[in-house]
Symmetry: C2
Subunit: 258 residues, 2 copies
């Protein structure tokens, strides 16, 4: 039984499946994919994942992609490797449904909107620092049409209307989470699940820092408390301690750059 | 053990969880929600689903929403009620991951884009037939901000750029499915799964009719063969035979109106 995890910095997608690996105490080989060098579009990587995206889980040669799918796969393949408090996917059908409701909400209504602001602030700088001939070549290497568009838009800049819409989506999500945390200790109920890992990785860990205008401390105090409980978990802390090769001046998600 | 299913016409979301109920042979009470009368925004319905959307599964008083979540719930709650050929969610972890990969693709890259064309052609007509004062009142009753926007946009008309982008997404999906069906008999492998049900309900059943310019018969002959195999299944046929109260002149998804 050999697990290999291809990933970038400990944030967003790459963090989202790293946390379950650590929380479940599974041994795995870590393979760093350097997004700053566009490793994810190179032939060695697209031979592993034709979509050219991190992260990727390799389990004895079987390739699993997309973090929500990877995290459910880890539950199916290693049901007994669990943190001491509760399984990451509740074993009762209703609990699992609550978890999947939140996973779906984060996947469809949160992830891309925080990502847009991160791309606007950080990837835009990287993209504009590439000469236009080289940029065209870079685009040609990107397998997914949507990703090609996202890179091109990052270079030219996302529109104010799109950014404002993204901000509104994030505010809606913050308020929804705050309300839920008034009813239950964790997002999907009384136990820590994959839903918490999902929202934390894509929004909860960085929302206060990236969006100071939202005044998260006063608007969403339960979210702040929940975030502290997340980072206090040894598995989460271990995942967060992974290497970060992002240039310090570009750490929009992982550092203090707005 | 009592199941109740709140649904509209046998197409898209409402069809997507009706098929598993029929394929699994589960007894349930059918509750028709008349979208043409905006039942889904009325207090009796938002008391059941505060998001004001169909379908909804009520299992002994526990409410489950969102079709991908409902369909996984039915697998968790009724693992032994299965069609004779194979379980709707594969029991091996890799098979389940393949199924979830396709579910995620349909949920995030297909559903909303076919839906946009349907709303443009059909809901737009309905929305424009409402007096503007009544339309404002209708909007006020819609709980989800995104749905309010979608209704307002349907009335004013989706932009040509958005419609063209949606068409490109559907073409990409059709070609991806066609390629997959060259490798495997069904979308997620050799057996019929929830992934087939998902793509069929949101795109496969109506794509040839709604988008004649795509020339599906020549572009995607394996998809046509797959669609025939889908509709030949007694469970799928039973779900499709449900009542359709859409005015004949508006049957964009379910009839022959372009």
């Amino acid at each position: 039984m050999a697990l290999k995890y291809y990933h970038a910095e400990p944030v967003a997608n790459s963090l989202k499946s790293m946390i379950p690996l650590k929380e479940k105490g599974l041994a795995f080989e870590s393979v760093y994919v350097d997004l700053h060098k566009f490793d994810q579009h190179q032939p060695w990587f697209t031979a592993i994942n034709p979509e050219g995206q991190v992260p990727v889980l390799d389990h004895d040669g079987t390739i699993i992609t997309h973090t929500t799918v990877i995290n459910e796969y880890l539950e199916d393949a290693f049901p007994d490797a669990q943190p001491s408090d509760a399984p990451l996917r509740p074993r009762d059908p209703v609990g699992a449904a609550r978890m999947r409701y939140w996973n779906k909400f984060v996947d469809e209504h949160v992830m891309n909107f925080v990502s847009m602001h991160g791309w606007h602030r950080m990837i835009g700088v990287i993209a504009r620092n590439i000469d236009s001939g080289d940029f065209e070549k870079l685009l040609e290497n990107i397998p997914l049409p949507d990703q090609r568009k996202k890179w091109a838009t990052a270079r030219s800049g996302f529109s104010e209307a799109d950014l404002a819409n993204a901000t509104a989506k994030i505010e809606y999500a913050v308020d929804k989470v705050e309300q839920q945390l008034g009813d239950t200790r964790w997002l999907a109920g009384e136990t820590f699940t994959l839903a918490d890992i999902n929202f934390f990785s894509h929004c909860g860990m960085m929302v206060e820092r990236m969006f100071p205008d939202m005044a998260i401390a006063t608007r969403a105090p339960r979210l702040v408390d929940w975030r502290e409980r997340m980072t206090a978990r040894p598995g989460v802390a271990a995942a967060l301690s992974g290497e970060d090769r992002t240039a310090p001046g570009l750490r929009t998600w992982t550092g203090h750059v707005q």
